[in-house]
């Protein structure tokens, strides 16, 4: 099994030859500065760092100098899978629970805006005592909070409603990621403006070309919503809302408005396009569920997963479990298509509203089978079977698919998406 292999190669992936040449040149510059210009002439071809593919003896040549901003090792090429509107996190190739910022999924509705942090402002108005504007400097001065949380687009696995569509876990579950988020509690900033007693809903608006807008119930927001300016210890990535985004623990990703610039308090939902014609779940009777904020209990095996190949013998089944309601208390794995279930090991720390890594040691005997995972959260919510979910919600919801996911393994060890 090649856990580190990238299963898909994007045809648009840039040629690495030029990067190799740059690295070599950078090394030479560093070498010259270390040993002095006169010594540079003494460098023989054998001492030069080899081109990719040639044998390198790292104990025989000086390594490169420290750099101001790190990049991953040459040869590590795992990447997001981009489309016109989103990009998908390669969970089949990741470990632990933190998604590297550069691999955090993207979903934006009219591109990633270019925003100058010094000029960015947050406006709070509507049913407040004092309409206020905040600079980024103001917001960073407030008492801060850091939490490790998943963000999952409610369209994650959405194509699976109608059948096993995605080939890899990147395609079926790539619209979710986990980061360590730092910011100021929304309640702290709202208190600065003073919430009027009749304010019940808050409109949050982004400063992107979609001016993305959602109405959110204040009662829930003041509990734990954050206005975040940092992700995994550094400023937000542009595609994650730089310089400021809302993060609402456990809620569908679309509510975590990026590039946020305006909060307006009101008495009722504003009924924006995104909470009426989009992000609503059509039921079989023709009605639609609206304001489905919490992402329900869900898990998936990330390896072995679709597109990967296993060999008989020991296989560590690895996956992620999460719930927008709270902490995961149990993850279970089935290696016989759901006939029997085994408790998987949960990697500590298990955090609420955060991805939890689970592992289960398995010996594959070479027979065709189906592997699955399911999880239970601290509120007793159990991830449903596909049949139960479809019975309750039909197949036209598009959003909020959270059924048990099945991977088929054939006699050759090839893993494919296959619903049961």
């Amino acid at each position: 099994m090649n856990l580190f292999d990238e299963e898909r190669r994007n045809p648009s992936e840039p040629d690495t030859e030029k990067e190799t040449w740059v690295d070599r040149r950078t090394w030479l510059t560093g070498a010259v500065s270390m040993v002095g210009a006169t010594a540079a002439g003494l460098l023989t071809p054998a001492l030069l760092p080899a081109e990719e593919g040639e044998s390198v003896r790292p104990t025989h040549v000086p390594g490169r100098s420290p750099s101001p901003y790190g990049v991953r090792a040459q040869g590590e090429t795992v990447q997001r899978l981009p489309t016109a509107t989103h990009s998908l996190t390669p969970h089949h190739a990741l470990h632990g629970i933190i998604t590297p910022s550069a691999l955090h999924f993207e979903r934006h509705h009219n591109g990633v805006p270019s925003i100058n942090s010094d000029r960015h402002r947050l406006l709070i108005h509507g049913l407040v005592d004092r309409p206020l504007t905040f600079s980024m400097n103001d917001l960073v001065r407030f008492p801060s909070v850091t939490r490790t949380l998943f963000i999952e687009c409610s369209g994650n696995s959405g194509k699976e409603w109608k059948g096993p569509t995605g080939t890899t876990v990147q395609e079926t579950h790539g619209l979710m990621s986990t980061s360590e988020w730092t910011g100021v509690p929304l309640s702290t900033v709202l208190a600065e403006a003073g919430i009027k007693p009749d304010a019940v809903w808050m409109l949050a608006e982004g400063s992107d070309a979609a001016a993305m807008t959602r109405s959110l119930p204040l009662a829930e927001l003041v509990n734990d919503a954050l206005l975040c300016y940092a992700q995994n210890g550094e400023a937000l990535r542009p595609e994650q809302g730089y310089p400021l985004r809302l993060v609402i623990p456990g809620w569908e990703g679309n509510t975590c408005i990026k590039w946020i610039r305006r909060l307006k308090l009101g008495t009722a939902p504003f009924m924006t396009r995104e909470e009426t014609s989009r992000y609503t779940d059509l039921m079989p009777d023709g009605t639609a569920k609206q304001f489905t904020f919490v992402m329900d209990t869900k898990s998936v095996i990330t390896s072995p997963s679709g597109g990967q190949q296993i060999d008989p013998g020991f296989v560590e089944i690895r996956g992620l479990a999460w719930s927008g309601h709270g902490k995961i208390v149990m993850a279970e794995v089935s290696t016989d298509g759901g006939k029997s279930w085994h408790t998987a090991q949960l990697q500590e720390p298990v955090l609420p509203k955060c991805h939890t890594r689970f592992r289960f040691g398995w010996r594959w005997n070479g027979d065709e089978t189906i592997i699955q995972s399911r999880c239970t959260d601290e509120t007793g919510s159990i991830q449903p079977t596909r049949a139960a979910l479809v019975a309750a919600r039909g197949v036209h919801s598009f959003y909020h698919y959270h059924a048990i996911h099945s991977w088929r393994i054939d006699r050759r060890g090839a893993v494919t998406n296959g619903q049961v």
Partner: protein, 184 residues
């Protein structure tokens, strides 16, 4: 689920959100950060339109004006009559939501006409959002509502008339308290 039960669910949901537990902790301190927002600050960014029509600007538009504008600025993505795509169909689909092939359009799905004004100004055309004048937005709203059989061909859309439009799927939405699905 019947429409009356749907309405009841919405009222119930709003009622729950209205429960007083939202009030901030009394001891939430203030830090003296931020600057007072001026009327100009607010006016420059306050583009939202409420379901009761609050926020709708002065201006007016007709179905005929909308037809011309739609052909020029919208048809390339949404099709000549609003049904062809390649992007979202905007017209038709009424009566299809409970079928095997539901078609979600403005006419079949959108619960509020005011959302049309809000969204078209805010985000359309895709290549030049927030570039349309109020008259242009009212015209496009008029054409789209007429194409969906919701207003007459001679109707004029403005702040007063748009707020009175009742959409066919107005009662089609149920606030989801996660109380009836699997798990919750």
């Amino acid at each position: 689920m019947g429409k009356s039960r749907a309405v009841a669910s919405i009222i119930l949901a709003l009622g729950l959100f209205l429960m007083p537990n939202w009030i901030l902790k009394a001891e939430e301190p203030r830090y003296g950060l931020g600057k007072p927002a001026t009327e100009a600050d607010i006016k420059a960014w306050e583009i939202d339109i409420a379901p009761n029509g609050a926020g709708l600007p002065q201006g007016r538009g007709t179905v005929q004006q909308g037809a011309t504008l739609y052909a020029a600025k919208c048809a390339a993505c949404h099709g000549p009559t609003g049904t062809e795509g390649p992007k979202d169909p905007l017209v038709g689909g009424q009566g299809s939501l409970a079928s095997e092939h539901p078609i979600k359009t403005i006419g079949s799905y959108w619960p509020y006409a005011t959302t049309l004004y809000d969204y078209i100004f805010r985000a359309m055309p895709f290549s030049a959002p927030q570039s349309l004048t109020p008259d242009e937005v009212y015209s496009l709203v008029a054409w789209l509502l007429h194409q969906n059989g919701i207003i007459q061909k001679d109707a004029v859309m403005d702040a007063r008339t748009l707020a009175t439009i009742r959409m066919p799927n107005r009662n089609g939405f149920i606030s989801d308290l996660r109380s009836d699905g699997p798990g919750h």
